[in-house]
């Protein structure tokens, strides 16, 4: 879906590549035993290694390696059995060692691919160039003192995976869909919590524009964008900025820019001239990382069902629409919930209840599906009551509301409040007859051909039965008795 941008002099194609930084759920930092949880007091989670005290040495955290390999496998990538940690040297006050340990020439994961879902229902493959492990830096805080800056090293040394895509995206929508898909995969395999607000996931966005079909234009890199909305806005701003320059006969300078969400614009951070010379070289404190194929195979076998496979299964086995399936698989918990309700029930009906009532209530109360007062088992119970015609769909919504409030079973609520449907035809017929007899005028109207007025009768009967009559049966009886 090549979405072209209109310039004053013609159409432009935007080309986007992404470097997504994902904080790895690994228990401790990449090279130290310090914990890496979010929200601790400043400098409360800093080991001697993280603060780069003299004589300190890095020791690779195995869990970080395991998660990187699992992620690589989850994006269908080649796992490099030998990878090397390198030092990326530069001075910055929140970089205690004076270098970041990262992977440069030999990353742990090579080329892979991620399939994204497009708004028109189609799909597109975005190629992954590499995934490597690296340390995060600390944080400088500039607003606590008029002339001094403070440093918080809690993040220093935290494990990040940098997932680098090929420049395969052609619109902000695609870029957003790619990040969303990556996030979904990372959450499925518990490799990253995907929380962009807390900085667990952030993206560097490379943007260039070109006349459709031309070779790649000069790109600008927008650093550290931390929400999907900002990714979209930054790309759109940046693409139009570049188009304007080019249409006015200018050239794009390769530079690093920052996105300012308050003003919705990107600003120069540093130009190519003052780009760093990082002086990469293999870290002599760490040996090359050698993995065994058997280890990789074992991790592969242990991966959970991933969103794409699950979506396909939902479409194939449950007959769901592609749209419904993608909504239900986006989060692993939702997919699990659906799976457990849909087993031996009408899948389409289950999907509707989840995406309708359940999602609505969750959103209103700001709850995750795991915290839902209506468990999968309980929703299943409710749907069973509908299927057995014990209650009507309308009653079911009331029952759901009560389940949400009390956490009780549908069956209990229906029984204790006497909400069972009247399905006995004879019982309904008595009430229908009574209503017709009491309202002769309206009955004549229907008989005179105003079939719409039949709805009024349905309402009366339902009212008389406190909503418990099976509306289908009521309809049929009324049509039969009020025939012209």
């Amino acid at each position: 879906m090549a979405e072209l941008l209109k310039g004053t002099k013609g159409d432009w194609e935007v080309v986007i590549g992404l470097e997504v930084h994902a904080q790895v759920i690994a228990g401790s930092k990449l090279f130290s035993g310090a914990t890496a949880e979010f929200g601790a007091e400043p400098n409360a989670q800093v080991s001697f290694v993280d603060a780069a005290m003299p004589g300190m040495l890095p020791v690779l955290n195995e869990e970080s390696v395991r998660q990187a390999v699992r992620t690589g496998l989850a994006v269908n990538a080649i796992i490099n059995l030998r990878s090397v940690f390198a030092r990326k040297n530069y001075f910055y006050p929140d970089l205690p060692q004076g270098y970041q340990i990262s992977q440069y020439e030999l990353p742990i994961v090579g080329e892979g691919a991620v399939e994204i879902d497009l708004p028109d229902g189609g799909a597109k493959t975005i190629r992954v160039e590499r995934l490597h492990l690296e340390q995060d830096a600390g944080k400088s805080i500039h607003d606590l003192h008029p002339t001094k800056s403070y440093i918080d090293l809690n993040r220093s040394g935290v494990t990040l995976m940098e997932i680098v895509s090929k420049p395969d995206m052609r619109s902000a929508d695609e870029a957003v869909a790619y990040i969303a898909k990556l996030r979904s995969i990372l959450r499925y395999i518990d490799a990253c919590d995907g929380n962009m607000q807390n900085g667990s996931m952030r993206a560097d966005v490379n943007v260039s524009v070109r006349n459709p079909g031309d070779k790649l234009g000069t790109r600008c890199e927008i650093k550290n964008v931390n929400s999907l909305r900002f990714v979209r806005q930054a790309i759109n701003f940046e693409a139009h900025r570049q188009i304007e320059i080019l249409e006015n006969g200018g050239l794009i300078d390769q530079e690093t820019r920052l996105y300012d969400p308050d003003r919705n614009e990107t600003r120069l951070m540093r130009s190519k001239e003052d780009a760093h010379d990082y002086r990469y070289f293999p870290d002599p404190d760490l040996l090359p990382l050698d993995l065994e194929q058997a280890y990789v195979d074992e991790l592969k076998a242990g991966l959970p069902e991933l969103p794409d496979a699950r979506k396909k299964r939902f479409v194939d086995d449950y007959g769901l629409s592609v749209y419904d399936a993608s909504v239900l698989v986006a989060e692993r918990d939702t997919g699990d919930y659906f799976d457990s309700v849909a087993k031996s029930r009408d899948a389409k009906q289950v999907a509707n209840w989840i995406t309708g009532e359940l999602f609505g209530h969750l959103k209103k109360d700001g709850l995750s599906i795991k915290k839902s007062p209506v468990s999968a088992e309980k929703l299943g119970g409710l749907i069973d009551l509908i299927s057995s015609s014990t209650i009507s769909g309308r009653t079911a919504k009331e029952v759901f509301e009560k389940m949400w409030q009390t956490g009780n079973d549908a069956k209990e609520i229906v029984e204790s409040e006497g909400l069972s449907q009247i399905t006995d035809a004879g019982e309904i017929e008595i009430i229908v007859n009574k209503v017709i007899l009491e309202n002769p005028k309206n009955a004549d109207e229907v008989r005179g051909g105003n079939s719409k007025a039949i709805g009024w009768f349905v309402g009366q009967v339902m009212q008389a039965t406190a909503g418990k009559a099976d509306p289908k049966a009521v309809n049929e009886l009324l049509r039969d008795k009020l025939k012209a």
Binding site: M53, P54, G55, P58, P96, Y280, P284, D285
Partner: protein, 491 residues
């Protein structure tokens, strides 16, 4: 009368066990020796009070019958090791006031074995130097003097110059050093003591201030081979906190000394014959060859064709790693900070003032050889040559078990003589660097005196983790040389 400071560690150990002397006596004698030799500038920090209280504990410990292999033995520690609560300066202004609240793995092992620390010894700044003249705390003077020019001050070698000189001057019974390109062996040779650089990975580097990570290795300096065997046995071992540490059991090095060298194949690398090498160096080398032959070893010539590239390669690799390792000294978290108008200027001021000339020179070289555009030509090429150098050694092990070479191309030289001539200074490491590049264990043993009355050492190099054979060979050299001379300035 028994002079306590002349005892070897092994002798003192036997007297302590027999109850003939106490650790407190031994420690007090060495504290007096430190005072007597204070003009040599051996120590950056003295820890005499702590030493005495540790010695008392050692004496009590011994009574309980439960004692370590170095129980109550007074030693010194090169100021490159972090020891809890004591200034760790690396002989640099940069680490002004830095007292770590952690203990290096190697020193922890030594304290667990009962050793007593008398102080932190002087050294070249960040271990960069071969004369101990680059220290922020001033140069160390070699306790040895030229026979004909006794007033001329000589260097002790470097960078473990303070440690080597302190052992030679009888201020301590043994000392901890570090060796990157020869920093234990060359000063051992200059000061007439035994110094061993073990196999890379044998001793933990955790808590040792880094110079060049792929080369740095801790080792002991002592007056006898047996003492080195005892000390190394306590220092060595696997450490999960150092990823380059190797998990191989530590053998009983002292026990290895019981075996002779009959049938051992000793190689003499032909490329180590340098043009213009002093005759007396050639002379002790020839002697060494003879001694091995007489002891029933099989001596043969071997070729290490890439030897000539070792020194230039070393002076690319070591500064490259150093430039990166020393980046952490930025004035932000500890040590020296010189303010500036902004962050950039603070960095510049701090690093310009904190680092001495030699350190700055090596940081510049290292930064240059790692820079984009030069990396392939220098650093990458150097790594390839390094592999070739290691291959040379690997090939030689097919025909020999040990290699015998001089330790240094000369005896100790005069203070100030080479300090402004870096190339001349770097040439001091010409015989020690190749084994370092290959990560091999190597030992220097004093075997004689120069015509000026200065000690000269021979070096033995062995296969990785074959320190036992190294000690056996060193034992033979020691026995044959019967080196008993003592420096004039000893306590």
């Amino acid at each position: 009368m028994m002079i306590l400071t002349d005892l070897t560690i092994a002798e003192a150990r036997n007297l302590l066990i027999a109850g003939d002397i106490s650790s407190v006596e031994l420690t007090e004698a060495h504290i007096r020796a430190m005072e007597a030799t204070s003009s040599l500038n051996l120590f950056i920090t003295e820890t005499c009070e702590q030493a005495l209280s540790k010695a008392e504990k050692s004496d009590t410990q011994r009574l309980s019958g439960n004692q370590g292999k170095l129980e109550g033995i007074p030693i010194a520690v090169k100021d490159l090791f972090c020891t809890h609560g004591v200034l760790a300066s690396a002989a640099s202004k940069m680490l002004t006031g830095y007292t770590p609240c952690y203990e290096s793995t190697v020193t922890k092992h030594l304290w667990n074995a009962g050793a007593v620390m008398l102080g932190k010894t002087n050294m070249d700044e960040f271990a960069m130097g071969s004369s101990n003249e680059t220290s922020y705390y001033g140069p160390v003077t070699n306790p040895w003097q030229r026979v004909n020019e006794p007033t001329v001050k000589l260097v002790p070698g470097g960078s473990s110059g303070g440690s080597a000189a302190a052992v030679a001057a009888r201020a301590v019974m043994g000392a901890l050093g570090t060796d990157t390109g020869g920093s234990i062996r060359q000063p051992a040779s200059f000061c007439g003591v035994v110094g061993i650089k073990p196999t890379y990975g044998r001793c933990s580097r955790w808590g040792m201030i880094a110079f060049a990570s792929s080369l740095d290795q801790a080792g002991p300096l002592t007056r006898t081979v047996r003492d080195s065997a005892i000390m190394l046995g306590e220092m060595a071992g696997y450490d999960a906190k150092d990823s380059t540490s190797v998990n191989i059991e530590v053998p009983d090095y002292e026990a290895a000394l019981k075996k002779n060298v009959k049938g051992v194949r000793v190689g003499v690398p032909q490329e180590y014959f340098l043009e213009g090498m002093p005759k007396e160096i050639q002379c002790i080398w020839d002697k060494g060859i003879t001694w091995f032959k007489e002891a029933g070893a099989e001596v043969k010539d071997v070729s290490l064709p890439h030897t000539k590239y070792a020194l230039p390669t070393y002076y690319i690799v070591a500064p490259a790693e150093a430039s990166s390792n020393l980046a952490r000294y930025d004035g932000v978290r500890y040590g020296l900070r010189i303010e500036g108008k902004d962050l950039q200027e603070m960095y510049e001021n701090t690093r310009a003032e904190g680092f001495g000339r030699e350190v700055r020179r090596r940081i510049m070289i290292g930064t240059y050889v790692l820079s984009a555009g030069y990396y392939d030509a220098y650093y990458l090429k150097a790594q390839k040559v390094r592999t070739k150098i290691a291959d040379d050694f690997r090939n030689s092990w097919k025909s020999v078990d040990l290699l015998l070479t001089p330790t240094a191309p000369s005896a100790a030289f005069v203070q100030g003589e080479k300090i402004n001539d870096p190339i001349a200074m770097y040439l001091n490491d010409i015989f020690t660097v190749p084994a370092s590049m290959a990560g091999l264990p190597a030992i220097s043993v004093p075997v004689g005196l120069s015509s000026e009355g200065l000690p000269l050492g021979l070096q033995l190099i062995a296969k990785p983790f074959d320190e036992e054979l190294l000690f056996r060979g060193a034992g033979l050299l020691e026995l044959a040389a019967n080196f008993k001379e003592k420096p004039k300035l000893a306590a």
